[in-house]
Amino acid sequence: MQCCVCKEKPATVHLTQIVGEKMQKLDLCEGCAKAKGINDPTSFAMADLMLGLGASQELDPSAGVVEIKCPRCGFSQADFKKSGRLGCPECYQTFAEGLAGLLKTMHKGTRHTGKAPEALRKSRETGDRLKLLQKKLNQAIEAEDFEAAATLRDEIKGLGGASPAKAAK
């Protein structure tokens, strides 16, 4: 069996990962496995790492996949496949879809819960609070508890949040 990366040397490292109901298999030679930093196959989404961002997402091959490039820095999925690193901070938005699966397997969670720059801390806290209130508001509406809903709506307005009708979508 040949290594699926360099297609030259025989594959001696075999990885199998089951994501949902799909099984992914990779066969690598020792050099390529090392180059990709594989010693703990459980710690990342293999396909994302090996085949570029978003490869583990189901892409319809017949749809003719257009390569995404970061509008800010011109970085592409192929570049990520080469280096395992992104081009600029904005790449996280550009490749958000492809990154989501990778981050899930890599980290404890997908939402940052630690420190934030002081300038952003306030708006961040307000954002968190608004999200919570919105959730409560939806629950209140569903339960037809209109008194509670009115109070929540006022509080959301007070924090500068969107009008309930708009935010509820």
Binding site: L86, T110, G114
Partner: protein
């Protein structure tokens, strides 16, 4: 331009720095990765952009009170030997040592803060402390970062936190690590199960020089791997807890070895002393491994009157770049082995044979 070697703490003073539990925890470190909002990451930015980033970051870092007395330099102004010395001191990564134009370093006099500019990220700032002081290192670098964010615009996303070049550092951008000397667990053949259980907790165990290096001299680095989804405090506390447990296992292993395998331990220590005190040619790798046993011997009371600092100093001065720095001519590896052996023999001439009670 300051001379790096005038600036660096001498190996003997460096070895004299003490901290809690330093017979097992050699040092603690917390590093934060940060990037500027509107620039490409160092690996993707072109040279002029990297130089611009470096020129923006250098003065901002230099102006922090912690860096009032500091060594700040562009990497292209450092010789290969200087860079290697910084690696051997664990002040910069091997990756950073390979950088040149557009990358830089700022190091304070006490060597308690060291900032790498344009390594994998625009900023890799580290707080270093001797012994088991993980929390102190975190508090120090947290303050440092809070002061710096007033001068620089860091890339931050409400969902994802601090944005880093590699998704593995995303979120907190934190890496908390402790360097541990674990000869007891290695001799008792308990090190592998310990490494495995530490791995299961989502922590990495690496060798002396970080990623992809072997555990020379029975020195291991334990650090967190996951950076997103948990707060810095949670990560710091987990590492603290795990390191405290490893310390306990190491102490127990040493105790058990003394009770049940005394001859094996004394054989190792005695042979290490014999070779180090009498060799006329010795490689850096063999030196490290034998010095580790000597250090264990000192901890176990086999060398009354000899301080651990002697070994810690030799740990540093016998490494290739430090050795090369002490002589003017360019040495081959074979010549270094001769000079290394001479130096170790000289330093051990007043150390008597191990006491084996």
């Amino acid at each position: 331009m300051k001379d790096l070697h005038q600036f660096l703490i001498s190996p003997s003073s460096a070895a004299q720095q003490h901290g809690p539990h330093d017979r097992i925890v050699m040092s603690s470190r917390v590093r934060l990765a940060r990037n500027l909002r509107d620039s490409a990451f160092p690996g993707w930015a072109k040279k002029p952009e990297r130089v611009k980033i470096l020129e923006a970051i250098l003065p901002a870092v230099g102006a922090l009170p912690e860096m009032a007395d500091s060594f700040a330099e562009a990497m292209d102004n450092l010789t290969a030997l200087d860079k290697q010395i910084l690696v051997e001191r664990h002040l910069i990564s091997r990756e950073h040592a390979a950088k040149s134009v557009g990358s830089g370093i700022v190091l304070n006099r006490e060597e308690s803060f060291c900032v790498m500019i344009n390594e994998e990220d625009h900023l890799r700032m580290q707080a270093l402390r001797p012994g088991f002081q993980i929390r102190e290192a975190w508090l120090a670098i947290d303050r440092f970062d809070s002061a710096l964010e007033k001068k620089l615009n860091f890339a931050f996303d409400n969902e994802l936190g601090y944005l880093t070049a590699c998704p593995t550092n995303l979120g907190t951008g934190i890496r908390v690590s402790a360097m541990l000397h674990l000869p007891g667990l290695v001799l008792a053949e308990q090190i592998n199960p310990i490494i495995q259980s530490v791995n299961k907790l989502g922590l990495a165990v690496r060798g002396l020089y970080g990623e992809g290096t072997e555990a020379l001299g029975n020195v291991f680095q334990v650090s967190n791997q996951m950076t997103l989804g948990e707060s810095e405090t949670v990560i710091v506390e987990r590492l603290e807890k795990v390191v405290a447990q490893i310390i306990e296992h190491e102490e127990n292993a040493r105790q058990t070895l003394l009770e049940k395998k005394k001859k094996v331990v004394f054989n190792h220590i005695g042979r290490a002393y014999g070779i180090l005190a009498n060799a006329h040619s010795i490689s850096s790798k063999e030196t490290m491994n034998l010095l580790s046993l000597l250090r264990l011997g000192i901890d176990l009371g086999s060398f009354p009157g000899t301080e651990r600092a002697l070994v810690d100093e030799l740990f540093l001065t016998t490494q290739p770049a430090h050795l090369q720095k002490q002589v003017s001519d360019k040495l081959t590896a074979e010549e270094r082995d001769l000079i290394r052996a001479d130096m170790v023999r000289e330093r051990l001439k007043d150390v008597s044979r191990p006491v084996t009670k």
